[in-house]
């Protein structure tokens, strides 16, 4: 039988010891280093690299995880060429330092050596509830514990970690890494109540009453519907759900030899498409209604997908999914687009080319056009929002109710600050924690 499992093993190997030392010794140890300033969590990159070079791996790991409680995950999933590595001064005169790989090496050391790097603070007798145990929630929880607050995380899923645990493909981020980070937070005394959906298993009111502050870090929701005919046929998937299956269930052979189309060209689309290839699909196409220029996936993701053999069809808009007699996807009807005038986002708006409809034979269609918002929950908390985007004070991380704070993907779009990335979620979690601490301390 085919062994799909190995397709999902982590693609990148850990740096070999000599490789890591040689690379660490190449770092200039810049002052007020651009790489550090480009890291959303402000990891002191030169410092952690210097420590690797001096043989102080524990100090190195601590530097990283001190600034970024999900530093092991980030070393794997950060778009480093856009962040730290993109800012490395050596870009101009040599090759940038492989910061992400070095960070991975140091945090791997921490995972392999059971050391306690952090301690909880002197108890303050204050209680904070965190709704959602993704990177934002975990990051906030850890910082709040270090500051002495009592912290309870309410997490809907069976395990904490959020998209790190369930959403980012295993061959980039094995679940074990995310779960190790969860464990570190737990070891500090954070109470993580899994399988507990706020708004269902426990009410927002209870939280507001039982805790001194509530932090909402529920991220975003599933992939929204396309709004075209045929979305309910078998063979149509939600990209996030599809990826989650590959991380939580035994790998299925049902995709072997199938032709698949992924709709959308963001990070999720890339992950879904490469997962499909690794699940055995014979042809995987990403279709996108704009062009390469407008797509939100990073260049390195685009390259990765191309290497995996994913095909890209630009200026292609799906209009209808057609099924066979058994209600299974059979064809996708699309229309050719062209770029018109710029829209509000500044990108040129795609408009259909007249009479350009065409059909593609396909077995699997995957929706990957973004994520929906947790409007119900936001409203259950009684908070102001703008079509699902929480209203937020981006200094204090307070929502319209000043006992309630928010961070991470759930506030994506409501602050100037940061992309929807793990590293931004981690930083926002930290900042929200300090804001809560400040509020509870006065």
């Amino acid at each position: 039988a085919v062994d799909l499992k190995r397709n999902f093993f982590e693609v990148k190997q850990d740096m070999k010891p000599k490789e890591a030392i040689d690379e660490a010794n190449r770092c200039l140890y810049c002052y007020d280093a651009p790489c550090m300033n480009a890291c959303p969590t402000g990891i002191d990159v030169p410092s952690f690299i210097k420590k690797m070079a001096s043989g102080n791996l524990k100090g190195s790991a601590r530097d990283i995880l001190d600034a970024n409680p999900v530093g092991a995950t980030c070393s794997r999933v950060c778009p480093t060429s856009e962040l730290c590595e993109g800012a490395c001064v050596l870009n101009d005169v040599s090759m940038p330092i492989r910061i992400g790989d070095l960070q991975r090496h140091a945090t791997n050391w921490a995972m392999d050596h059971d050391v306690d790097l952090f301690e909880s603070g002197v108890p303050t007798n204050t209680k904070v509830a965190i709704v959602g145990g993704g990177p934002a929630g975990l990051s906030a929880a850890r910082e709040l514990r270090r500051l002495g607050h009592e912290v309870t995380i309410f997490e809907a899923k069976e395990k904490a970690g959020g998209l790190d645990t369930y959403g980012i493909v295993s061959f980039r981020l094995p679940q074990s890494v995310s779960l190790w980070e969860v464990e570190q937070v737990e070891k500090l005394g954070v109470d993580i109540r899994t399988n507990c959906t706020v708004g269902k298993d426990i009410s927002p009111e209870t939280l507001k009453n039982d805790f001194d502050a509530v932090l909402i870090t529920v991220g975003m929701g599933q992939v929204p519907k396309l709004g075209i005919e045929g979305e309910d046929l078998t063979g149509v998937y939600d990209a996030i759900q599809f990826v989650e299956n590959t991380k939580t269930k035994p790998l299925t052979e049902q995709f072997i030899g199938k032709r698949a189309i992924v709709i959308g060209a963001g990070n999720t689309a890339i992950d879904a498409a490469t997962c499909l290839i690794r699940s055995g699909a014979s042809h995987v196409k990403i279709i996108y209604r704009r062009t390469e220029e407008e797509m939100t996936a990073y260049p390195f993701e685009f390259e990765f997908a191309k290497q995996d053999g994913v095909e890209f069809r630009w200026l292609t808009q799906p209009t209808k999914i057609m099924g066979d007699e058994n209600g299974h996807v059979k064809q996708l009807m699309c229309v050719q687009m062209e770029l018109g005038q710029p829209d509000e986002s500044g990108r040129r708006r795609p408009v259909p080319v007249q009479d350009s409809s065409f059909l593609m034979d396909v077995d699997i269609v995957v929706r990957a056009i973004g994520q929906s918002r947790h409007i119900d929950l936001i409203e259950a908390f009684g908070l102001n929002h703008d079509s699902g985007i929480l209203q937020l004070n981006d200094k204090t991380y307070q929502t319209s109710n000043d006992q309630i704070f928010a961070a991470g993907d759930v506030v994506y779009g409501s602050t100037e600050y940061g992309d929807a990335m793990v590293v931004s979620a981690a930083e926002q979690g930290k900042r929200a924690a300090y804001a809560i601490d400040k509020k509870l301390s006065c």
Binding site: N25, S47, K51, S54, G55, N56, G59
Partner: protein, 426 residues
């Protein structure tokens, strides 16, 4: 979290990392920044008779693309007015009462000169004094620095003069440009020093510019010998520290200096008998922040070793440092190559073949793969192959403990008893 504080002859500091007397301790602004960064103490840039410095001053060697393997300077002592320095010392001590501030001093070898400066400096409040008998250039022409530091009698006499008036501990800083450093160290002890520090810089010329044929550095086309320091001098410094530490009559604490760049170096100096360490080049290369890893690394190391105090390290290796004649001639090591780890670069082969004992064979295994094997009988255990090997663990030096340990001295005394012929028993 181990206790990192140390006490050098009564001078206490929160950790063993001090800045040596040099450009980094040139002013109050700098020393205060250093203390903020975490340094435990600072020896102020040497105060003394007014001098003028030249431009340019420093140079450094690059080793295989890595900068500042060694560092060289033709700078003298401070050229700032004494009063300004004293005022800044006062300010700094006030702001950082728990950090060590030691004043480095150098004046002409005259009793009244020493008395004058010691009194002035102690009046404003310092934790100790360091007598700079070590600058290898410039000052020597005026009878100062190494010119006195190279003469044991002068070291003793001047130390004595200082001790006549000093109320704080006196550290004597030794020059390495000397045939036998224990002679001057002993002279310092005789003069009443509370501690010695070593090493100052080594006479050197960094290089010649092969294009302009000027020296590096040069002052208007001319050069002079400078003082060498930085990572390259560490083994020289460590040896001098060890020689003093093991000397039965040099029984005052040692402040180790010379090429210390990180916590591992500091641990080595402490094991070899230093109570604390002083750093110059590493700080000049990277700024004050390097102390952060020094502190963190030392702390993690002590934790890992289960040691509660940094001071527990001091001198642990001293008793293992002996005369060549007391080494066991019958102890043997031999190289063994681990084919699993070997990457077949053949560096060990060629170094042994060309420049050691021709005892590594290049062989082909049953699968046609080439591998290397040491003929252990022929191997003298020189270590060369393992030194040049780029892969950790590819070459092990296997120990063959001796059944009967015998040193050269033991052998010679035996031979002495048995010698026949014209030679007489010595």
């Amino acid at each position: 979290m181990a206790d990192l504080s140390v006490n050098l002859a009564g001078i206490k500091s929160p950790n063993p990392f001090w800045l040596a007397s040099a450009p980094p301790t040139n002013s109050g602004y700098q020393v205060q920044r250093a203390f903020e960064a975490g340094w435990g103490g600072a020896v102020w840039k040497t105060l003394g008779d007014p001098v003028i410095n030249v431009s340019s001053r420093f140079s450094a060697s690059t080793f295989n693309g890595q900068k500042v393997a060694g560092f060289n300077n033709i700078e003298l002592i401070t050229d700032r007015p004494l009063e300004v320095n004293l005022e800044e010392i006062y300010e700094t001590k006030k702001k950082f009462p728990n950090h060590a501030i030691v004043a480095s001093l150098m004046v002409e070898p005259k009793q009244e000169k020493w008395h004058e400066i010691v009194k002035k400096v102690e009046a404003i409040g310092v934790d100790g004094l360091e007598l700079n008998f070590g600058c290898p250039h410039g000052m020597a022409e005026r009878g100062m620095g190494s010119a006195s530091g190279q003469v044991p009698e002068l070291v003793e006499k001047q130390t004595y003069w200082v001790k006549e008036v000093a109320e704080t501990p006196v550290i004597v800083k030794l020059t390495p440009n000397i045939t036998d450093v224990t002679a001057t160290a002993y002279a310092a002890v005789q003069g009443g020093a509370d501690s010695i520090s070593l090493i100052n810089t080594i006479n050197s010329l960094m290089g010649v510019d092969i294009h302009s044929w000027n020296t590096i550095p040069h002052v208007s086309g001319k050069g002079t010998h400078g003082g060498y320091c930085g990572p390259a001098v560490k083994p020289i410094a460590l040896n001098m520290v060890a020689e003093c530490a093991r000397h039965p009559e040099i029984n005052i604490p040692i402040s180790g200096i010379g090429g210390i760049s990180n916590w591992q170096d500091a641990v080595e100096f402490m094991l070899m008998g230093s109570t604390n360490v002083q750093v110059c080049t590493a700080a000049m290369h990277h700024g004050f922040r390097i102390v952060e890893d020094m502190i963190d690394g030392l702390n993690n190391y002590l934790d890992e070793k289960g040691l509660a105090r940094a001071m527990d390290l001091i001198g642990q290796t001293v008793s293992k440092y002996q005369n060549w004649g007391d080494l066991d001639l019958n102890y043997k090591v031999a190289a063994r190559i681990n084919p699993e780890k070997c990457i077949n670069c053949n560096k060990c082969y060629i170094s042994c073949e060309d420049t050691s004992h021709q005892c590594i064979d290049r062989l082909i295994d049953a699968n046609g793969k080439s591998y290397l094997k040491v003929r252990e009988d022929d191997c003298v255990g020189c270590n060369l192959c393992s030194i040049v090997c780029p892969v950790d663990g590819a070459i092990d030096m296997i120990e063959y403990p001796s059944e009967v340990a015998m040193t050269w001295n033991e052998r010679q005394s035996l031979l002495g008893k048995m010698t026949i012929g014209e030679e007489t028993v010595s």
